[in-house]
């Protein structure tokens, strides 16, 4: 195994926002030459796979400004400073959908865009759902939608389900159905 590490020579801070910060690093490449890396820092996030007693996936319909469209996603949200991901998963599920969960089990964590961003998303599966009332953030506008597995697969085909964490959630559900046959 070669050492492929890129050592930082300089860091230029570009932007410090509410959610992301941006910097450009000059690095020393493995061949000794210099390279430039554009980096987005993000606090990380959780996504919650919640399946109702009548076997439907809990989704939220939400406008996403970067895409300029409204899409269907599993409940999700970014980590507050020092927040435990599991605590965040309970919180986001309740805020966005009103559902309370008895337990929240970690499924997988992954980086969404390792080429330019350090965002990691932790996927959890909620168990033992009971209904409550939604309390989204003041600048967050979401609608609750519940779909069967076949409806979810149709929404992937139509493009209304079109983000990494939600596609992963549907695939995990589909995998389990096929595994358990």
């Amino acid at each position: 195994m070669r050492d492929l590490t890129e050592k930082t020579i300089t860091t230029e801070k570009i932007y410090e926002g509410k959610i992301i910060s941006v910097q450009v690093d000059q690095v020393k490449l493995p061949n000794g030459e210099r390279g430039k890396r554009e980096l987005v820092k993000h606090p990380g996030a959780v996504g919650v796979i919640a399946i109702t007693p009548d076997n439907k996936l809990v989704l939220v319909r939400q406008f996403r400004k970067p895409l300029e469209k409204t899409i269907l996603e599993i409940p999700a949200g970014k980590l507050e400073p020092d927040e435990d991901p599991q605590t965040c998963a309970f919180r986001e599920l309740a805020e966005e959908t009103g559902y309370q969960a008895d337990s929240m089990n970690h499924v997988v964590s992954y980086y969404t865009s390792p080429g330019f961003a350090n965002e990691i998303i932790h996927l959890y599966e909620a168990k033992g759902l009971t209904t409550g009332s939604m309390q989204p953030d003041s600048d967050e506008f979401v609608e609750l939608v519940e779909l069967s597995l076949s409806e979810c697969n149709e929404r992937i085909a139509s493009g209304e389900i079109c983000d990494a964490k939600t596609v992963t959630a549907v695939y995990l559900w589909q995998m389990r159905e096929w595994k358990d046959r």
Copy 2:
């Protein structure tokens, strides 16, 4: 269905880089109030699921500066201006791994981080692999690794496979194995 659209009031350009650009939009929220959205623009990318005749997934070992670590990913790369995603998939597979493919079939496309970025990744499955020679970009340093399905699942558990597109690729492979039993 409520109209959840957030209309742009102003756009402030923050950064125009080689790969990403960054802007902050002031928006009119569905309740009439103002909000701020931090947006990263990205040209989009492809990822290639390539399984060898001896039933191993083709991966590349690569240092990722945003994560400050070396990880295992499926071959991938960003779209050149006006490049067709399928053409990009053939190109990136060949450049990063040396493999040529007879055909390249679209599997799914998704946004990696719809909360702050417009990056879309198109996943393709390569068929009819033949070996050639690697020609990575001048600032790209990658090592070829080929792993069985069980090895891939182990690497997800150990965290060496830890990005959205590669986890998706392994899940798709696992799904097909279970579906076809």
